[in-house]
């Protein structure tokens, strides 16, 4: 299915990227390539510089050495960061308003996505009356709306309970199926990475580097329960855990 929001997707190229904060070496030579329309998950232990890497790709930080070649990206932080004084639709529309679109027009363009992505009827609900999963959906739509070719998702479901997280993973898989984008997803959950991504890059503890990559050759769409209990998936999971040394 063709995306209604972007004309083209684009590739990401990272070469020898280094980043330090004072004495702390966060990233030590990260090499990573993400193809057009590819979904790549980055997995690694806490503090390995995953979030720093995303902010570098988003252009929110500059590398101390190396090359970051990436198109304009939409960034979704860990917390939903919804504004309590705006309703759900207004929060999604914020992404367009920040780029200069007028309020009414922004809301009108955001509305169809609510129907498409299971948020119909919640347009006027304030964020504090939404469940954690619903809040993340709104935050994700806010990320999709500017129509940028690259999505950067920083542990989007880390704050959810495990049942809701599973549900949100299927939801995100469907959403990315309907709105294909080049996607870089950071997570500490190996299962989540394998389920959502085409390829998983594993990072070492700090200073972070990509130490192994794993292709996930599973057909799409991937119904979640069948997929994660499938023997091919379990094998991949074992392989990934071994590469991470856990």
């Amino acid at each position: 299915m063709q995306s209604t929001l972007v004309k083209e997707t684009a590739a990401v190229q990272l070469g020898g990227v280094e980043r330090r904060f004072g004495q702390v070496e966060a990233l030590a030579g990260v090499d990573l390539a993400v193809g057009e329309g590819e979904i790549v998950a980055i997995v690694g232990p806490s503090g390995c510089g995953k979030s720093t890497l995303l902010e570098l790709v988003a252009g929110l930080q500059q590398p101390d050495a190396g090359v970051v070649d990436a198109p304009l990206a939409s960034y979704m932080p860990q917390k939903d960061l919804l504004l309590p004084w705006r309703d759900a639709l207004g929060n999604a529309a914020l992404a367009l308003e920040a780029g200069g679109t007028r309020r009414g027009e922004a809301r009108r363009r955001a509305a169809p996505l609510f129907e498409r992505f299971g948020l119909g009827g919640f347009e006027r609900t304030p964020p504090y009356e939404l469940s954690g999963g619903m809040r993340q959906r709104v935050a994700f739509l806010r990320t999709l709306l500017p129509g940028r070719p690259l999505l950067l998702l920083d542990e989007p479901f880390a704050s959810l309970d495990s049942l809701t997280r599973g549900e949100m993973q299927s939801w995100l898989a469907d959403a990315l199926g309907a709105e294909p984008r080049t996607t870089l997803l950071v997570t500490h959950d190996v299962e989540e990475a394998l389920y959502l991504a085409d390829r998983v890059a594993m990072m070492s503890p700090r200073p972070g580097r990509v130490v192994a990559e794993l292709e996930v050759r599973l057909p799409r769409p991937r119904p979640r329960r069948e997929t994660i209990t499938d023997s091919a998936f379990v094998e991949l999971k074992e392989e990934a855990l071994e590469a991470l040394g856990c």
């Binding site: 939409s74 504004l83 914020l94």
Partner: protein, 248 residues
């Protein structure tokens, strides 16, 4: 609601009872302390006089508060946007609060004449500080991650200020305004004591000189009611303007 009002009413009754009891002592001069019933009598006898003067004071308080809000708003936003200005002006802001208002009052009256001017200046001066500090803190209360998100969305500085920082500052602004509104009455009274033709402060001052003790107490009671009402009004405005405060 009743559950929350009852303790306040109870404590008020206890305070009234204590007042009554102390006023009934023979050793307490009637010129020093009027009893609640004498005060009530004064309210009833002089209600026209009291209300006319209370109206004058209320206008001073409301206009002064409006000036304080406008000034606090302008200064807080300017200080928030320009870091050097913030560093430079903060000590002065604190200093403005440290100047004893009753020393300033006569000077203000000399400078601005007998009219409403010096009263407004004093009300604004006394209530400006908590409002400005509340706004400044509120403007800075936005999470770093949210600012990062706004940056990644390409939001301009003006967009960040008007759509994110100012709404986020509302709860802290109202906290400051509640304090500002309750002390505003003090500013008006000092202004009137230093020189005025009308107002509750002047009435109290004259009552003192003429040994009309019950009338003095009646004036104080009305001032108190005014301050409490202002506080309640601000709280009500906050519930309307910041519905998320109690829910997040």
């Amino acid at each position: 609601m009743l559950k929350r009002v009852l303790p306040a009413v109870g404590l008020l009754l206890i305070a009234l009872g204590a007042w009554w009891w102390v006023a009934s002592w023979d050793s307490v001069d009637d010129l020093l302390l009027a009893s609640p019933s004498e005060t009530w009598q004064a309210v009833r006898d002089d209600h026209e006089l009291l209300l006319d003067n209370a109206w004058v004071t209320l206008i001073e308080v409301l206009l002064g508060l409006a000036i304080a809000i406008a000034a606090a708003f302008a200064l807080a936003v300017a200080m928030h946007l320009v870091r050097p200005l913030r560093d430079a002006a903060y000590p002065l802001l604190v200093a403005s609060q440290a100047v004893p208002i009753f020393v300033l009052a006569p000077i203000f009256v000399l400078a601005f004449d007998y009219g409403i001017g010096p009263k407004l200046a004093l009300v604004a001066l006394i209530s400006f500080f908590p409002i400005a500090v509340g706004l400044l803190d509120g403007l800075r209360s936005v999470e770093a991650d949210l600012l990062k998100l706004m940056q990644s969305l390409g939001a301009s500085r003006a967009f960040r200020l008007t759509r994110v920082e100012l709404p986020a500052a509302l709860p802290a602004f109202f906290s400051g305004l509640r304090i500002g509104a309750s002390v505003a009455v003090i500013g008006a009274v000092f202004g009137e004591l230093a020189g005025a033709d009308e107002g509750l402060g002047r009435l109290i001052f004259l009552g003192n000189n003429q040994l009309e003790t019950p009338r003095v107490y009646a004036g104080v009671v009305i001032l108190t009611v005014m301050a409490v009402s202002l506080f309640a009004l601000v709280s009500l405005a906050e519930r309307v303007a910041v519905p998320w405060r109690t829910k997040t």
